[in-house]
Amino acid sequence: MASTSTPKKPTAKKTDVAQNNGQAEKKQTGSSRIKVQKTYKIFINGQFPRTESGRYYPLTLSDSSIVNLCLSSRKDIRNAVVAAREAQEKWAARAGLNKSQILYRLAEMLETRSSQFIEELQLMGATKESAIKETETAIDRLIYYAGWCDKFNAIFSSVNPVSSSHFNFSSNEPTGVVTIVAAEESGLLGLISVMAPVIAGGNTCVVLASESKALGAVTLAEVIATSDIPAGVVNILTGTRKELLAHMANHMDVNAIYLHSNKAEEIKEVETLSALNVKRARIEFVSNWFEPKEENPYRIQDFIEVKTTWHPIGI
């Protein structure tokens, strides 16, 4: 390998360079330096393990290069749920303002890394224009939900004028651990549009990223890992729906599931398995994530529970 990557001999053994994006890089920059390729790993409890199964699936990018992504297993989901459960109460207990700042900070960091997301979206087939639009909208959407963290409870709560001599109010609490089967077609924006309201509400999540547009999800995990989002709050796996959908839906320590799908068999499977522990199943198909209507606090309400508290008034 050393012979193919020695920068001091730019012209030497040029033909030995493998037909991968190292080659593409070389052509673009005109430099002889061989690009360091990234290993795309999964994200569990703030760390980047490979799938415990040791399996991979290849993704061919628009520059003909191939990346190997983790083909996650049921065990990976179960490990991620353990991490999400462990993190949930502490995350929920953080002040709304604190959660708000943490999400905002994540958006700040995405902004500084936006060129990478734009590049990856292009590698997965997007035009430059649409890649820029998706990245910018995703960042803005994160900021939108960052702002809701300490406000949605005021919108969705109530003080209830009961007839008896009691003070009675209803406030919102997170549903708990949520599995998210993210949009296949919108790898970055579709994921952030659902993940952000879920964690803004105080839940923790285990995300199955888009299978065909997974790069942005893994890079997002890398940004999350260096943000202030505590380990376990967001866990991101790559793999196939075919294998993992059932395990996302039937886990007994998961309180809710989000599924982006318009496939009847997927919807039925998820709803059927959700009945095992009265899981809340939120299923939808969004054809255009850019629409402003896809950005609203009711997406937070989908994953909150209303708690009503009574106390007598009097001596």
Partner: protein
């Protein structure tokens, strides 16, 4: 109390120190049933008229305190459900969804008023059909049911204020299945918000308590509500299944056991029907050392013995902090000794009849299980009628988290007692259940209340009170106690699509 007496009480913690069965004899004070109007046989209420069941079947509904037959009630079949759904669909498309919201409201107000006018008749029938003490049906069930209609009537023309930034729209036809523990009240909880939101309804009352829902159908008929807006189809499980599986129903609302709730959730998977479930519970009622103990004891009694313990939110797991455990348990036993178990129609009765022989059998099985698990049983020395289905109020002392009487919903007057030392310990124990419907906390310290009410995983938390309900107050569970809320602003959401 002298030291000597106190010591004596401590020594006798296992025995009640008072015996009201001999000390006080109450003269019977029965509520009259002479004024009620009950038919011998009830048909199905479909499309504004009374329709004979398609297969011609009728079943008997009995008075669980006398075992006497009260009336025969139609057994609705799939065909009947289909007829009801067609009526509800037509009423939705042609009348109810087109009616101006404030006119819709007037009908709902009218139903509330008619229930109020006939409240005593309803209370008497509720106690006869279901076995609950007349004091409860008269003072709680019926007034709350009327108030529920009154409350939601007012929402009909104000829905856009409930969901900022959204345009709420009715869903269509709602299929509603309700339990036997609060027959009219559950019908009100289901029908009132559905109508206010602009939907039409097919409702199935519980098999053992159909009468007040049928009387409600009479009121609905009298109110002039357009035909088909509310349809009442009586029957058992098969009738309920026909509603759940009907392809032209848009929304299912179910109150009942977690087991059946899961079956329903599974049955409608992939159909696109909306769903709300109000399921079982195993609520923790937590007494801290600094609580007002006499009030807490009243709260424990109300928490578990209200409506014979046939309450999904019953405080069926008692947690007493160790320092006051002996004292609280002694006071609790004394209080239990004063409870009057017997004729539901008697105004002095505290605990009425168990709703059905099946339910009594289930409770008795749990009493055996509790003993076999090593629980120490306490029942007061009270008399129970020789006829009818009755169960003495029961404590299980010395229970632990793994006991089935601690983990499983008994739905009877049976309280499992545990003790605890620290706040962290009791939160851990209280939340150690798949359920999450309700909880109770008793302490005089405000900060402790808020700490507890925040950390308890339950949809309703009563602090220094228990088993309070109000139309304006959302009710419903976390986790396996179901999803969706009934009551209050939040109770509208399950009956609306937000565009």
């Amino acid at each position: 109390m002298s030291k000597k007496q106190d010591k004596k009480h401590q020594q006798q913690a296992a025995e009640p120190s008072l015996d009201f069965s001999k000390a006080l004899i109450y003269t019977p004070a029965p509520e009259s049933s002479a004024h009620i109007r009950l038919k011998k046989q009830y048909d199905l209420f479909i499309n504004g008229t009374w329709v004979k069941p398609s297969k011609g079947g009728y079943f008997e509904t009995i008075n669980p305190s006398t075992e006497q037959v009260l009336a025969k009630v139609a057994e609705g079949t799939q065909e009947d459900v289909d007829k009801a759904v067609k009526a509800a669909r037509a009423a939705y498309e042609n009348v109810w969804s087109k009616m101006p919201a404030r006119e819709r409201a007037k009908y709902i107000y009218r139903i509330a008023r008619l229930i109020q006018e006939r409240a005593r008749e309803f209370a008497v029938i509720e106690s006869m059909d279901g076995g609950k003490p007349i004091r409860e049906s008269r003072d709680i069930d019926i007034p709350l049911a009327a108030n529920h209609f009154f409350y939601y009537a007012g929402w009909a023309d104000k829905l856009e204020y409930a969901f900022p930034g959204k345009n709420p729209e009715s869903i269509g036809v709602a299929g509603q299945i309700i339990p036997w523990n609060f027959p009219l009240l559950m019908a009100a909880w289901k029908i009132a918000p559905a109508l206010a939101a602009g939907n039409t309804v097919v409702l199935k009352p519980a098999e053992s308590t159909p009468l007040t829902a049928l009387k409600l159908a009479e009121i609905i008929e009298e109110s002039g509500l357009p035909a088909g807006v509310v349809n009442i189809v009586t029957g058992a499980g098969a009738t309920g299944a026909a509603i759940v599986n009907h392809p032209d129903i848009d929304k299912i609302a179910f109150t009942g056991s977690t087991d059946v709730g899961k079956l329903i959730q599974k049955a409608i998977a992939g159909t696109g029907k909306k769903l709300t479930l109000e399921l079982g519970g195993k609520a923790a009622n937590i007494i801290f050392e600094d609580a007002a103990l006499d009030q807490a004891v009243e709260g424990i009694v109300n928490g578990i013995f209200f409506n014979q313990g046939h309450v999904c939110c019953a405080g069926s797991r008692l947690f007493v902090q160790e320092g006051v455990a002996d004292k609280v348990i002694r006071k609790l036993k004394d209080r239990m000794a004063s409870l009057i178990v017997g004729d539901p129609m008697d105004k002095n009765t505290d605990i009425g009849a168990i709703n059905s022989p099946e339910q009594l059998k289930k409770i008795n099985e749990y009493l055996k299980i509790g003993v076999n698990e090593g629980g120490e049983v306490f029942q007061p020395n009270c008399s129970i009628p020789s006829k009818g289905y009755f169960c003495k109020p029961t404590l299980f002392l010395n229970t632990s988290q793994s006991h089935r009487v601690v983990q499983e919903e008994i739905f009877g007057p049976v309280l499992a007692v545990q003790t605890f030392r620290t706040v962290e310990e009791v939160i851990e124990k209280a939340n150690n259940t798949p359920y999450g419907l309700s909880a109770g906390v008793w302490t005089d310290k405000g900060s402790k209340i808020f700490n507890m009410t925040t950390k308890l995983k339950a949809g309703v938390v009563w602090a220094n009170t228990y088993n309070k309900f109000d139309p304006s107050s959302p009710f419903g569970g976390f986790r396996e106690s179901g999803f969706g809320r009934e009551g209050g602003l939040h109770g509208l959401l399950p009956y609306l699509n937000l565009r």
